[in-house]
Symmetry: C3
Subunit: 257 residues, 3 copies
């Protein structure tokens, strides 16, 4: 009858909402907040059955959200309302997931990643640090549905995928790639490429994108690093340097045919 | 332990579902119904923290839905299941919102507006009267994600956006604009325009659209005003008159080059 | 106060989750599992008010899901989390519906049908056996929104609609049609057609699609029938035979102009 298992390991100063169920295997870090009507540590089937769910300290999981067992999230996780995060997710620190997300499990996610609402992450996805996914983005994995094959996508550090875009199975988007809204991107996309449209055309580099207020061009780390905590700044600087150096090199290289 | 705060102001003949939580600040009009497993008046952070949530009389909020504090809805609100309506929404009378909607807050919505399922309304949106949004429509607001800027869209009275379309940041769709399914509309779109495709092309006026049964052309007020309550009819007539007059004028104007 | 009506007819060895409500009219087959926080037999308005909800045996409905009264599901139904299945659905055996689905009701669904997450099925849809719908697929029904008309789509046996595609009102997709991701398909689409793009172009037959591992071409029954239970195999063989025969015929037919 108690909704919170006595075997769960719950840190200090953790608040747990009404009608929220917490299973045996769950470990929750200090100072975390879990909203109402959640299920934390929902049983998984298959290999990850009975594996722990670990949630780092200072985390916030909003109401009506379901986290399966067999996943591990770093500190300062934030999850919106009505989301589903299934088994086999290995995520770094300060992952922020919006509402109505569907993370199907079996994926890797780096540090300081941001998903807006209604993001769909297929199994087998491999997501770097500082990635941004916007509403109704789909990371697919089946090369020819229905096939039973799983070929997840790879999104390297700093990738941005705008709303309502689809990333095709087995693609690799290198660092800093920007995919415009309602595009269908696939294959291997080089560092700092700007992708647009249903055929996933690369129309140049992200330096074409200029921030309206500051007039600074992309990569977005040029004008938006302030939005991240102090501990992310070195990672952001290194990533920016890598992307800018690559783009400099590409621009100055003579055309070899 | 009681889920309904004794400080909430709840009207006469209001029904409240099982396991529904109602916070302090909430004011609910007479004869309203709130479904099961809802959270009404969920705390907001920021400026709207501790501001009231007002729900007009004769309203219906279906199960598993979350309404934040700091919003105000006119009479005869209807909300589907599993929806999220955040803080800072100022909505007129008889707003009808389907299931799985994500209204991110900080927006204005007129009277007699209709959202189907799974509509995403970004912060800063400004929505007129008698607007229709269909499933998986996204009203964006970030001109170049991620930028931290918020430039919401403006949809004037009688706009229709069909399923799976994206409205780009800072656009204005004037009265009666019709956006076809899976389009990406942006910029300033004149009264009664017909928009289609990923480039948001204007291919003429909505008079190209003919109602199959009645053979009447759009604007839709020509054949669908019967679906609205009596008190909406004057507003509908005036809007129809405005759009038709504008389209008449455009058709008869000699081409000036 | 009891959440489970004493008038509901609940089979043997049925497990029902915490905070799940079961209404009067509900009939649940043996050995089924209903998750937490569900509403089973939610009242419908209109003609189907007070009509029964029937769920076949060996079924699984995951947490936070809502099923209305006035629908009938065959054995071995599976539904994900946070889904909504409204009144008037007549579904065959072993329907598998993912999470966040929105089945608006008034539709027919055959046997062994598979919906991934976030599928939207409009009223009036007619779905055959062995159909596959992927995330954010929308089956529309209003020929010119908002019109009040309902012209649902017909998807014959073995149709596959990939992620983020829209099927336009009143279309018929014949057996084995494959719609690529982010397409907009409409009209009458012949057996075994391959459809792609926002204009719903037919670019040939599904034999153009080759399974990566087995090198077998589509229809998918050539390489994926193993994923279905034994009792589905005869149906699958017959469907494959029908599609292959049709495609053979089309390929060998001399061009008559």
């Amino acid at each position: 009858m108690p909704l919170i298992s006595e075997h769960a390991k719950i840190g200090k100063h953790v608040k747990i909402g009404d009608n929220t169920k917490i299973y045996n295997n769950v470990i929750i870090g200090d100072n975390s907040i879990i909203g109402d009507n959640c299920i934390i540590g929902h049983p998984a089937s298959g290999e990850l059955h009975d594996m722990p769910l670990i949630i780092g300290k200072e985390s916030l999981v909003r109401s009506h959200t379901i986290l399966y067992e067999g996943s591990c999230f770093g500190d300062a996780l934030q999850v919106g309302h009505q989301s589903l995060l299934r088994e086999g997710i290995i995520a770094g620190k300060n992952l922020q997931v919006g509402s109505f997300n569907d993370l199907e499990g079996d994926c890797k996610i780096g540090d300081f990643v941001r998903f807006h609402s209604n993001v769909h992450v297929g199994r087998g996805s491999n997501i770097g640090n500082l990635v941004w996914l916007y509403p109704y983005v789909v990371l697919t994995n089946d090369p020819l549905p229905p096939s039973g094959l799983k070929e997840g996508v790879t999104l390297k550090d700093g990738v941005v995928v705008c709303t309502s875009s689809v990333i095709l199975p087995n693609s690799t988007l290198e660092e800093g790639v920007f995919v415009a809204a309602m595009s269908r991107a696939g294959g291997h996309v080089p560092i700092g490429s700007l992708v647009i449209g249903a055929k996933g055309q690369i129309i140049g580099s992200i330096r074409k994108l200029n921030h309206k207020e500051s007039k600074k061009h992309h990569p977005w780390m040029n004008h938006y690093s302030w939005a991240y905590p102090e501990e992310a700044q070195v990672m952001i600087s290194k990533l920016k340097y890598k992307i800018e150096t690559y783009l400099d090199h590409m621009e100055h290289e003579p055309c070899v045919s």
